[in-house]
Symmetry: C2
């Protein structure tokens, strides 16, 4: 990254040029542009006009250097890269956070930390002060990155409850447990009696909480035969569904802990000759774009992604302002479609 300066960089007007054009001093220009307090109306107008004529835009590096703030935020994904484009949830979170922050003129840096090398790089990068805070999308517990970030003192907001760090790390999450209860109660109300479940990984909050909600409703009916573990991937959903059919061929419903896994489960049920929902009812979780694209369309539990991203951003900005980390638990909603 060296060589000729681009046309954009060359001759870019500085705050001095604006001051000269407006007939005031640098300080006045700076004040006029940052809040405009203690600036006379005449000076303010002159500055604004000079900004227009010169095409001045403040140099972010110079500003960062003196304010000790990067004025940007990192979105860090610790999941395998595959996930970003297989599971729409991640894109939705990314897009929601980006949009939310764009309105505040805060750019989002996208970083991944799925391998050891990437984690080191990301960690070092963040430690360098490139960003003021981190939006961390990492479901698996035990990832060293979270502790590294916490130790470095940089504001962090996790998406989903950070198991083992509750109270120390801010987070926003849907109420997984009661969402799962909603779904399982719904399946029961449809007359289903052999309700199986495909869970998320046991080291993720969604894996734990959604299973807990399932157990809340079924109690002793939640036999181990009816519980299979998935990894939130489509292939994982397929494998888990196949295992369930092997162990409990008489099941008449499945609550799947994510829409993507549910789509995999639907394919396996289809291949096994079972009709959905006549023979087996299928419930998902997320209400992602997948839910309406399967045949039949998925009954699912809606995660309020827009509120989640809004809360993540709010919690992060709060911490950047110096407030202590907090948490937000958001309600879920049952969305009934054709699969139950």
């Amino acid at each position: 990254m060296s060589g000729e300066r681009s046309k954009a960089a060359r001759n870019r007007p500085t705050i001095h040029d604006v001051a000269a054009a407006a007939g005031v001093s640098r300080g006045t220009v700076s004040r006029a542009l940052n809040g405009g307090r203690n600036v006379s109306p005449a000076a303010l107008q002159a500055v604004l006009k000079a900004v227009r004529t010169t095409g001045y835009v403040a140099n972010p590096a110079a500003r960062s250097l003196v304010t000790q703030r990067a004025h940007s935020v990192a979105f860090v994904l610790t999941e395998p890269q595959q996930r970003l484009f297989e599971d729409p949830n991640f894109s939705i979170l990314l897009q929601g956070c980006t949009q939310e922050l764009a309105e505040l003129d805060v750019p989002v840096l996208l970083m991944t930390a799925s391998t050891e090398v990437e984690r080191k790089r990301t960690s070092r990068f963040i430690a360098a002060g490139h960003v003021d805070g981190v939006l961390l999308v990492s479901s698996h517990t035990g990832n060293p990155l979270l502790e590294e970030l916490r130790d470095s003192g940089i504001p962090v907001v996790a998406c989903g409850k950070p198991i083992g760090h509750e109270g120390q790390v801010a987070y926003a999450a849907a109420d997984d447990r009661s969402g799962a209860r909603l779904m399982v109660e719904h399946l029961r109300s449809r007359g289903r009696r052999r309700i199986a479940t495909i869970t998320g990984p046991p080291d993720t909050p969604g894996g734990v909480e959604r299973l807990a909600g399932y157990r809340d409703v079924l109690g002793p009916d939640a036999s181990p035969d009816l519980i299979a573990h998935g990894d939130y991937s489509r292939a994982g959903g397929e494998a888990a569904m196949a295992a369930l059919l092997e162990r409990a061929p008489d099941l008449d419903a499945v609550f799947v802990a994510s829409d993507l896994m549910a789509a995999g489960a639907l394919n396996v049920l289809h291949d096994s000759g079972r009709r959905v929902p006549e023979d087996v009812a299928v419930g998902g979780f997320d209400d992602s774009s997948i839910a309406t694209s399967t045949r039949p369309a998925l009954t699912t539990v809606r995660q309020p992604f827009q509120r989640i991203t809004r809360e993540m951003v709010r919690l992060l900005l709060e911490q950047i302002q110096g407030e202590p980390p907090a948490a937000s638990i958001l309600p879920t909603e049952l969305v009934v479609r054709a699969s139950t």
Copy 2:
């Protein structure tokens, strides 16, 4: 974004601290860290050790200020936001570019420009010098952003041929036309005679080129009845398929210009009682993650996304170094699965 300084920002070691710890001067530390030329082995070792003990990481803002380089790059998406999580192509491009650049320690800023407001914001942001270059993912022609960027003189690489700007703007693209030919020839070789197509929007390179490839093969057989336009969305694919069935109920194959639209078309064919591939063969384009998740799995044309992203990054870095914009056209490949 003001308030207390975070723990990370407080007491961060500077190059002075490293110099003091190593018993050398700032200049020597700087030289040792940037290439290490004209530095004695003893000094180099001392500096490296001091860096380790102090935990020094260079301040990016200070570096940017003096080098006049942001050392970062923007990934700008001008499509409707919906697309980012509906169509895996965008996530793949994003993830590919991010990974490619991460290895060079260049962070990627994600920005959208789907509305007028966003475009203005993004344009201003880029003009401010936050980034050294732009990876532009914008299929529709006539977007003012491209001209704004070109006028500002910042290096830009488009993904897909920028219609009307060839030769002025660098780009990387798959060879859409010959890819389409591959698919239509394949359908013919399967004995299909009434081959329809669902195109992309006529103001996109994929919309134009893939249709041209279809016409190349079919010649006079490409009757208007057999051509429907989609918008690269799943819903668009559904609508186009429904229209085709209306106009040409005897069709026995469809070449769809994207996997996502093809998935929509499959659903409509399924709902209309037609069997795939027995009654109607369906070919997609992209070989995205969707292709293996439909039932039946999609025969499709593989876009070499990894090479595309690699080329985009290469072309961008070249321009940042001062070289003129160039273009890369990459070959496609037919992937035969169950839908044909």
